[in-house]
């Protein structure tokens, strides 16, 4: 191995000091860091609400919080985690930091717009906190009308505005990525030489740009009903509350793919690096990202199978929902095949990838149950659904996000974290996650509905298991905070390419200079090239 590594003299972190140099920066890397801090804080807040929910559900009687308090807890858990953590997580932090580096550009196409996205995100958070401190909100993160529009007496309007504004942050990030990927690639970097992380973000950006405006307008309509007494969804005036659900899920179903696709991009990068092998079926993995994004837009009504939609439209949407399972399966098989004849090593990022495999398999396969009409009628709105989407959105998306964070942490900060603690954390997250959420599948099939403050006694055993597991999970999520912070001062210097990875981002210093590359790189080879030549260059042989 290399010895006597030193941090570069000038890099993006020491190029300017003081708060102003951060708040007015146009550097995508600094903006990514600010996103990282913001969403980490929001993740803690969302985790706090989750802890409250799990604590309440230890006993069947609903004796810890009042029903209203409990309802606010799960609502705010959902809103914080979905809109202020999961949706920005991988794209706004890792995507922002890495896209320009991976394509050999100096920055995103619109650096000022990128900063504006961050500010919009913050303004959205401010609206949410305003609502939180004036009593919270109890509509569930789905804001179903007429409850949200006419009945709930909590802070729907400020939260709706917060989500609306944060939505524009997401749209502008997507727009920036699309233009960057189209127009800013380094010489020689053709579309099929792009890292799969970039492909995944391209698909993600399509969803952000095409889906988010629809939820924005839906929230506007809800807002007019709540604030001005308009009645687009009001059943007493002939309005249709189910229309709200259609419009809501037209975005919010693709939003699930918006969360998982970037994580899948991370998986491809990490997997290739830690097996020192090109991704099996590169173009199938790339196109399956696009297929997921496109199919994701035509399956929304599977959230409405018991909302009185006609039997035949339910069948059409069931059929289409199965179609989205295929590209996900294709990805999974290609990743498995990538391991074949690789040289696999198990540092923390790779452990997260293995964790992702386990959790995403369960999450994806349980999606088949929900797409199957006859079963959905029974498990709809039960804990089965809760378990399923946590497996995908938390198991899949956060495993990918954390894996990516561990993978690129040396690139972002220039330093290594504790290998031992990070492995412990990855294992704890995996075990704790399964303990927490697997029992919920059984609870759901038993018939326990979601969003229940109190429940019949026979569900207690499984609920206690779930709450117990969440403790392990919580510690697993907290550990990285400790060793990442520790690494900032005391971590070993990483050097430009500690994992011997093949991407362009590893060819510049860690941390990179503000302009990313001293000289614009020219790309000649294919992606994920591990030839003896590359190995020699990395001082391996």
């Amino acid at each position: 191995m290399l010895d006597k590594l030193e941090l570069p003299e000038r890099h993006y972190l020491n190029n300017g000091h003081g708060l102003k140099s951060w708040l007015l920066t146009k550097d995508h890397k600094r903006i990514a860091i600010m996103y990282l801090i913001s969403i980490s804080a929001m993740f803690m807040l969302g985790g706090f609400f989750a802890a409250g929910v799990r604590l309440e559900l230890m006993t069947p009687r609903g004796d810890l919080f009042l029903a209203d308090t409990y309802n606010k807890f799960f609502t705010m858990h959902g809103i914080v985690m979905v809109f202020f953590f999961l949706i920005p997580s991988t794209p706004a932090v890792l995507g922002n930091f890495l896209l320009p580096l991976m394509i050999g550009a100096k920055d995103l196409a619109f650096p000022r717009l990128n900063l504006l996205s961050l500010y919009l995100f913050w303004i959205g958070i401010v609206f949410f906190f305003y609502a939180l401190f004036s009593g919270g909100i109890d509509t569930g993160w789905t804001f179903y009308t007429p409850f949200s529009a006419a009945v709930s007496n909590t802070n729907v309007v400020p939260v709706a505005l917060g989500v609306f504004i944060a939505g524009f942050s997401s749209i502008l990030t997507g727009l920036n990525f699309i233009v960057t990927i189209h127009r800013m690639r380094a010489p020689g970097l053709t579309w099929f030489r792009l890292p799969l992380f970039v492909w995944a973000h391209y698909a993600t950006s399509l969803i952000q740009v095409l889906g988010t405006p629809v939820i924005a307008i839906t929230i506007v309509m809800l807002f007019t009903e709540r604030a001005f007494g308009f009645g687009i969804f009001d059943p007493t005036r002939g309005g249709d509350p189910v229309l709200f659900q259609h419009l809501f899920w037209f975005y919010s179903h693709p939003a699930v793919y918006l969360m998982i696709l970037p994580a899948m991009g991370v998986i491809s990068e990490v997997l290739s690096t830690f097996s020192r092998k090109t991704i099996f079926g590169y173009s199938f993995v790339a196109f399956s990202s696009l297929a997921i994004a496109v199919f994701g837009f035509i399956v929304w009504a599977h959230h409405l199978f018991v909302a009185g939609i006609s039997t035949y439209s339910a069948m059409v949407f069931s059929f289409l929902s199965f179609s989205v399972a295929i590209p996900s399966a294709v990805k999974m098989f290609n990743w498995t095949a990538t391991l074949y004849k690789g040289t696999i090593s198990f540092e923390a990022p790779m452990l997260y990838v293995y964790g992702f495999f386990g959790l995403f398999l369960v999450g994806g396969l349980t999606g088949l149950f929900l797409a199957t009409l006859g079963i959905d009628v029974h498990v709809h709105d039960t804990y089965f659904v809760v378990a399923h989407f946590h497996y995908v959105m938390v198991g899949g998306a956060i495993m990918g996000y954390l894996g990516g964070l561990h993978f690129w942490w040396p690139k972002i900060t220039g330093r290594m974290y504790s290998e031992f603690l990070s492995r412990i954390s990855a294992i704890m997250v995996f075990v704790g996650f399964n303990l927490t959420f697997f029992p919920q599948f059984i609870l759901g099939y038993m018939g326990m509905p979601r969003r229940y403050h109190a429940y019949p006694d026979e569900f207690q055993v499984l609920n206690v298991m779930s709450s117990g597991g969440s403790v392990v999970l919580g510690i697993g999520y907290l550990l990285p905070v400790i060793y990442f912070l520790w690494s900032l001062k005391h971590g070993a210097v990483a050097g430009p390419n500690p994992w011997v990875a093949s991407g362009l981002e590893w060819q510049t210093a860690s941390p990179p200079p503000t302009e990313n590359f001293v000289e614009t790189p020219h790309v000649h080879g294919e992606p994920y090239e591990y030839t003896p030549h590359v190995a020699r260059e990395a001082n391996l042989v």
Binding site: A105, K106, D107, L108, A109, F110, P111, L113, I171, L175, N176, I178, V179, H182, R183, M184, R185, A186, P187, G188, L189, T190, W191, V209, L210, G211, T212, P213, V214, A216, I217, T218, V220, M221, T224, E225, F228, G229, F230, G231, I232, D234, T236, R237, G238, G239, D240, L243, H246, L247, F250, E515, T520
Partner: protein, 227 residues
């Protein structure tokens, strides 16, 4: 899409235009990025209004009679006048972009100011229309008043009317603000035949907002006028 890499000879160009931002290689790349970005933004806007059009479509099919009745309460003369004004403003906008392209500063400013004035005329007329709606109680909500047998569903029509035209008007206000900045920049001589991207982008936005109105006018004012 074509490869983003600029041809070698452009790459080797020695002179850097002062408007070229540091992270772009060439003016062409910068302009292509802006144009693509604007189109993607407009795509987002289409989906944004799309949700409203979806709601409109559903309720118009369900409550056609109520929509026809409520539509007849809108002032078709003012609506037509505003339509003409907006189409006119698209023309002045196009002329403004053309003038910027051919590097005629005074002409550019003139056409941009004309566009702003037409935009303001539209907004003022719209304001009078709104005021009338308030006066006769056609604003949905507890104070809604209608003698028609379809009073309940008319509220849905007017909810959509106010949301759609209100959002459109908001886009107009943003457009006028944008145009004012562009006009000021044009007057200061910030643009040239080689760099007029902001004028062109503002033009795209303005045409889009016009186009939305071209849909809104028949959908809201002309539901069933023949009887």
């Amino acid at each position: 899409m074509s490869d983003a890499v600029a041809p070698a000879e452009v790459h080797g160009q020695a002179v850097h235009h002062p408007k070229l931002q540091h992270h772009f290689e060439t003016m062409e790349q910068q302009k292509e990025a802006s144009t693509l970005g604007m189109w993607v933004f407009l795509l987002t806007e289409v989906l944004f209004f799309g949700g409203l059009f979806m709601a409109y479509l559903l309720y118009r099919v369900w409550y056609f009679d109520a929509f026809a009745e409520a539509s007849r309460d809108l002032d078709i003369q003012l609506g037509t006048f505003n339509t003409v004004v907006l189409i006119g403003s698209s023309l002045t906008m196009a002329l403004g972009v053309r003038a910027a392209q051919t590097d005629e500063r005074k002409k550019t400013v003139f056409w941009l100011v004309a566009t702003i004035i037409l935009g303001l005329v539209f907004l003022v007329v719209k304001g009078f229309e709104y005021e009338h709606k308030f006066a006769v109680g056609h604003v949905p909500g507890p104070n809604f008043h209608s003698d028609s047998p379809y009073a309940a569903q008319e509220q849905i029509f007017f909810s959509l009317y106010f949301t759609m035209t209100g959002l459109h008007a908001l886009h107009m206000v943003v457009g006028v603000g944008l145009m004012s900045v562009i006009t000021w920049m044009a007057a200061k001589g910030r643009f040239s035949a080689r760099y007029y991207t902001p004028v062109e982008m503002a033009g795209l936005y303005w045409h889009f907002v016009d186009l939305v109105w071209i849909y809104l006018f028949p959908l809201l004012y002309l539901v069933e006028r023949h009887n």
